[in-house]
Point group: C2
Chain length 330, copies 2
DNA sequence: CTGAAAGCGCTTACAG
DNA sequence: CTGAAAGCGCTTACAG
């Protein structure tokens, strides 16, 4: 049960080389002779050697651990992006340390300390850090800090994402082009969703139209809020012709409620989502939504990390695409 | 930017004690004198010391890293459990290393190696490892291996979960008590869902009734399969009176399809889900489902780890509760 | 309650 | 292409 694991020294002895060479075999294979490599490989297989990366991290002062901090994971709009991030990072030889900061970010500081304790090569944040002290602390830290899913004016170090305000503007243009005239916004109370609502309102009123009506809901959003959103419509006169929802879950819940009340989507009421989750394409009617490319965010993050490690100076804001996916619901 | 981080030696010098004492302050605080602790605390604050846990892991041969291996995370039935697991583990001072094994488990061996490289204190698996070579390799490994969400006859080391067969049996009894007579099973092709279907069939036929009809769907399951499941019902004669779905997502999709076709749930067709996701309670009609207590699995896992660390010999199978949540849909 | 010393298992200039 | 030696930043018996 508790047999001690083999060390690099055992492998080197069996292969008839020094520990340095075995180390090079793992970390800089190009430099070791073919025949030597063969013998090392054999020795590794023979003893079942698995390198101790904690020792490696200490010796090289590079941990190859990346911390990914997310508000939650049970049902998060970030999950696609986080999955892509984990895939890409591990495929590139990193370990991913995941931490939950709570949907109110109350655990953020604690989780940052935990990440720093492991001497992670980078901290990847989903969502925006608003606390000034935390921002200041990370600003000049030796550890790379990457904010994703947003493009703040003044990132802590580097932000990889998109402007939620711009998403809102684009949504407003889309809604107008589709011929809708009385949009209603269902806005989860997160800074990002609020930014999108602001962008929508700015673009909508810029043409002289009256500001859209809006209804706040709690964040993170979920299916059940569709019911709330639908109830909110009952008293409105005139009734909106399109509801722009802060997430696909809300949109889905709203459609189910509308159907139960005998209201046809999109004929009587159009509905838009956000996030382009798989269910958006599967729902009946299919849900018009806005796609965020989680894999692109993940790839850009990897690339930024590599460029930074190579000593390059990076632009603080790396924009990533979003696109509106027109489907049946709006 | 790249200022070197302070080491324990700096703290000890400022506090006027040895490095050993500072180490004890962190790892065995009860043993250091109050006044000494006060001076150490001051020194820590002064220099902003954050211990290097990679060095600590190496020195103590205890990493306080736990690997959590999951098939996927974008939309997984395990997500509630995984979230609970991460919360509990980090609250107890562990770091959580997360890895994706793929829904076909094709990356499992690679991710196990990655975990062993970090000398994790435990590997927590969600789902069952079927590959014999992998099982054999982990069986006698010094690293703790915990299988969760299932209760196999012969766990690798320790299993914490419930019997899917028993869930199926309980579901059959529930369905019969509710007065349904022609159950139809929608079965994702995962070993767990198949076990539940087997349990259902066994309990159902034990009373002399004809075996339930069944339809396989791919795994992992998702909302869109509700459409598939509904189409599968069209040709059936007689039509089933209750559809037992492998997940709440399938149940939800099936209900949406049924409604679109003018079929009332549960009046004309009853539907059951599995997993008791939040949406089950929010759906219209609310979905009768089976609840798995992710927090209980997480807590039992922590407890097992602690008991094992204390040298206790644990029973190989630790059962965890499930319960049927009766709602409107069946 | 505290300190000096050895050691955890690697990596990396340096020299050849 | 390879090896010897120093060092990464901690922890932990051991002794007092």
């Amino acid at each position: 049960m508790s047999k001690r694991q083999p060390r690099i020294e055992e492998v080197s002895r069996i292969a008839g080389v020094s520990a340095s060479t075995v180390s090079r075999f793992f970390n800089n294979p190009g430099v070791v002779a073919d025949e030597t490599a063969r013998r090392i490989r054999e020795a590794i297989d023979q003893v079942g050697y698995v390198p101790n990366l904690n020792a490696g991290s200490l010796a090289s002062s590079r941990s190859r651990i990346i911390a990914v901090l997310v508000p939650d994971i049970a049902q998060s709009i970030f999950n696609d992006t986080v999955e892509a991030m984990i895939e890409e990072l591990t495929a590139h030889g990193n370990s991913v340390m995941i931490s939950l900061t709570g949907s109110d970010n109350s655990l953020l500081d604690r989780q940052i300390d935990a990440a720093l304790s492991r001497r992670v090569d980078a901290i990847i944040l989903t969502g925006v850090v608003t606390d000034a002290a935390t921002r200041a602390r990370l600003k000049n830290h030796a550890t790379a800090v990457i904010e994703t899913w947003a493009l703040p004016d003044d990132p802590i170090q580097i932000a990889i994402g998109f402007s939620h305000f711009a998403v809102g503007e684009a949504t407003a243009r889309f809604v107008r082009e589709r011929g809708y005239r009385r949009p209603h916004l269902v806005v989860p109370q997160s800074s990002r969703a609020i930014e999108r609502a602001n962008g929508f309102t700015a673009a909508w009123t810029a043409r002289g139209d009256e500001a859209p009506t809006a209804q706040p809901v709690s964040s993170p959003s979920h299916f059940g809020q569709g019911r709330l959103a639908f109830r909110g419509l009952a008293d409105m006169d005139p009734r909106p012709d399109v509801v722009v929802c802060g997430s696909d879950w809300i949109a889905q819940g709203l459609i189910v409620e509308a159907n139960a009340a005998g209201i046809r989507v999109p004929d009587t009421l159009a509905v838009m989502g956000f996030g382009n989750l798989r269910l958006a394409g599967d729902m009946r009617p299919t849900i018009t939504s806005i796609d965020i490319d989680g894999h692109q965010i993940a790839r850009e993050t990897i690339r930024a990390l590599q460029r930074k490690a190579a000593g390059e100076v990076l632009p603080p804001r790396l924009p990533v695409d979003f696109r509106i996916i027109a489907r049946e619901s709006a």
